[in-house]
């Protein structure tokens, strides 16, 4: 049996999926990255191997997410794609006539506009994270509730309060004031959902035509409070597709399937989960720019280098 792997390594979570020849999701994983992307990728590959029947052959692998290059080198990816393309490919797979994709993740939020199945425009958060999952994460911590309780509690609100939500700092102080005046937790939570959606629509979706069908994906789509506010704001039903939290990984898997047509895969095998990787960094002193170069190595062999303003180090790593 041939499978295609998709790996999406985000800032907060790592997603790994395996698709079969018919592009059905065989297995999916959702892990916390916890600031250790390499270990998490290895862990993810090990776990997904356990979930798959023995003897499967990996015919292709694709990576996406903010650590896509790192993941690509570690796993031996056939395709390394940015999150926007991967999410669009994933969403189109489940909702072929989608015209608007709302994608809210841990650190990044995006809007993708499609017409006739082709991405025609996109927007991404620019200078702040007040329209992303980490905003909710922070405030949940502050209110001493788990992120899973957030949505269900928020929709119990009867009289929502308005929270200043331009950034987490403003939100936090405004929220404390609202608590002290005596507003209920539910109303404050709903107010936070409202603040996030307001920020998202004012910053990320600014000037974009949000036609239905609207697909909502990413980790934040778990939150029923956000879903409801978004529905009210866009005045259209919101579709939350199955595996919405893994959509980037599914897109990466689909792209990998496309990429290996007519050639073999460069996937390094599940054994990579046993390899010891070392990451180091140094300041390049070749010129006055003093770039910080990061390097990934195993057993003293440098696999890749990143981070220079010029391509000096990328070139040397190709040679070795």
């Amino acid at each position: 049996m041939r499978v295609y792997l998709g790996v999406d390594v985000g800032s907060v979570t790592t997603k790994v999926v395996a698709l079969d020849e018919e592009e059905k999701v065989l297995a999916g994983l959702y892990l916390r990255t916890q600031g250790r992307p390499i270990e998490t990728i290895q862990e993810g590959l090990r776990l997904i191997q356990e979930m798959l029947p023995s003897g499967v052959e990996v015919a292709g692998a694709g990576t996406t997410g903010s650590a896509r290059y790192l993941a690509g080198v570690v796993a031996g990816a056939d395709t390394i794609k940015n999150e926007i393309t991967a999410h669009a490919v994933g969403a189109l797979h489940f909702v072929p006539d989608v015209q608007t994709i709302v994608e809210i993740g841990g650190q990044d939020s995006k809007i993708i506009i499609l017409r006739d199945g082709v991405v025609t425009d996109f927007g991404m958060n620019t200078v702040c994270a007040a329209g992303t999952g980490s905003f909710l994460d922070h405030q949940a911590l502050r209110l001493n509730i788990s992120i899973e309780e957030f949505g269900p509690l928020a929709i119990q609100s009867k009289t929502p309060v308005r929270i200043a939500g331009r950034c987490t700092v403003f939100a936090e102080s405004d929220m404390v004031h609202k608590q002290q005046v005596g507003h209920s937790k539910e109303d404050i939570l709903y107010g936070l959902c409202d603040a996030l959606v307001r920020n998202y629509l004012n910053n990320v979706a600014l000037g974009k035509e949000t036609l239905p069908p609207v697909v909502f994906q990413g980790g934040v789509a778990f939150n029923v409070g956000i879903r409801r506010v978004l529905e009210e704001a866009l005045k259209t039903p919101i579709i939350v597709p199955p595996h919405h939290e893994c959509m980037g990984a599914i897109g990466a898997g689909l792209l990998a399937k496309e990429a290996v047509v007519g050639r073999g895969t460069s996937f390094k095998g599940f054994e990579v989960s046993q390899v010891k990787y070392r990451t180091t960094s140094f300041e390049c002193k070749a010129c006055a720019n003093l770039c910080e170069i990061a390097q990934l190595s195993t057993n003293g062999n440098v696999l890749a280098r990143w981070g220079g303003r010029c391509d000096m180090w990328e070139r040397t790593s190709v040679k070795s």
Partner: protein, 362 residues
């Protein structure tokens, strides 16, 4: 007098030549780097823009290196707070205990003439003839570099081995900096233009054309824009930029033809200057949408003129995608690269779709 200058792409190189020709003693700070930026950020108001922070960082290094005079450009139209920057910087530096003089040429309508008059006085009262010829020589270097940069923008997209163009351009910058005569300058310009165009090209390359617009400083200084143009080149994109310093530094009649053209084009959407290059950014989208596959709009964080432009850009009826990127000392380069990659993907697919449509029509 020891005159301290600040870096802004090719402009500082040209200014250096001009002052050297006049035998004015100058101080050149180290190239813009993280050090410059953290130095500038430390003494800047928090919401000051990136150009402010970089220039202040340069000035601090200048003064440490023994400069006693600084030149700070300013705008005569008051629509942008840049008009206040010279005074604010002067205050900051004086509070830190530095003794220096700051020349602010833009303080009157005749900014350039005032600047030249000042430099003439300080350069042992050289004749106007000598002064003007030195200025023209500096400007000629700037024009040569700007011309080469346009070739670089084209060649980066199609070069066979990525990085060759950048290395050759750096070599050209160093050689042009050293050039002492008009004849050698002309020769160098031609030599490097030829060498750049003769580089081995990728036969499969079909570069997209992306226009880069926005605030001048971040547009011209690769450090400020996180090497945006070079990164676009790596992704196989031919960069088109209309705003080059040599175009607006020419005194008198020929100076602002391209600007006026952009202003006229922007009129249905924006009727007056909003400071900075806001007006031009809108105009270029209207003017160049036929030529460009897409546009990247660059601005420093908190730049009011460009924020106005950013809000107008989507409503312009000429329909090409615009990616707005905000530059700040907090900007992470990886995030910028992700957005650029996605943007280039989007443009490629749009082009493919147009091709398919025109095929199905036949």
């Amino acid at each position: 007098m020891r005159l301290g200058i600040f870096h802004m792409g090719n402009v500082s190189l040209a200014a250096r030549t001009f002052l050297r020709e006049l035998k004015v003693e100058i101080v050149i700070p180290p190239p813009n780097s993280g050090t410059t930026l953290s130095l500038g950020t430390r003494y800047s108001p928090e919401t000051a823009c990136l150009p402010y922070k970089l220039i202040l960082g340069n000035f601090l290094q200048d003064l440490e290196m023994g400069a006693d005079t600084l030149i700070m450009v300013t705008s005569t139209n008051v629509a942008c707070r840049m008009g206040f920057y010279a005074r604010s910087m002067k205050g900051t530096l004086e509070d830190l205990g530095y003794k220096f003089e700051m020349i602010v040429p833009g303080d009157s309508e005749r900014g350039l003439v005032n600047l030249l008059r000042f430099i003439k006085r300080r350069a042992n009262n050289v004749s106007w003839l000598k002064l003007v010829s030195a200025f023209r020589f500096g400007l000629a270097k700037l024009s040569a570099l700007d011309h080469l940069e346009q070739v670089v923008h084209r060649m980066r997209a199609v070069e066979k081995t990525k990085g060759t163009v950048n290395r050759l351009f750096q070599e050209a910058q160093e050689a042009i900096d050293q050039a002492g005569t008009w004849a050698s300058l002309k020769e160098l310009e031609k030599e490097y233009a030829d060498r750049l165009t003769a580089l081995p090209q990728d036969p499969q390359a079909q570069p997209l054309r992306v226009g880069v617009v926005g605030e001048t400083f971040v547009l011209m200084d690769p450090f400020a824009s996180r090497d945006l143009e070079s990164e676009l080149g790596k992704l196989g994109v031919e960069v088109r930029r209309r705003n080059f310093a040599s175009r607006w530094l020419r005194p008198g009649v020929v100076s602002s033809g391209w600007k006026e053209e952009a202003h006229r084009a922007a009129l249905p959407y924006l009727k007056r200057t909003v400071g900075g290059e806001g007006w031009e950014s809108v105009g270029e989208k209207v003017l160049c949408s036929q030529d460009y596959d897409g546009m990247v709009h660059l601005l420093p964080f908190t730049c009011m003129p460009e924020i106005i432009a950013q809000n107008i850009l989507p409503s312009v009826k000429e329909d090409i995608p615009v990616l707005t990127l905000i530059c700040d000392e907090q900007t992470g380069k990886q995030g910028m690269l992700t957005r650029l990659e996605a943007f280039v993907d989007l443009l490629n697919r749009r082009r493919q779709r147009k091709k398919d449509e025109s095929l199905s029509r036949c």
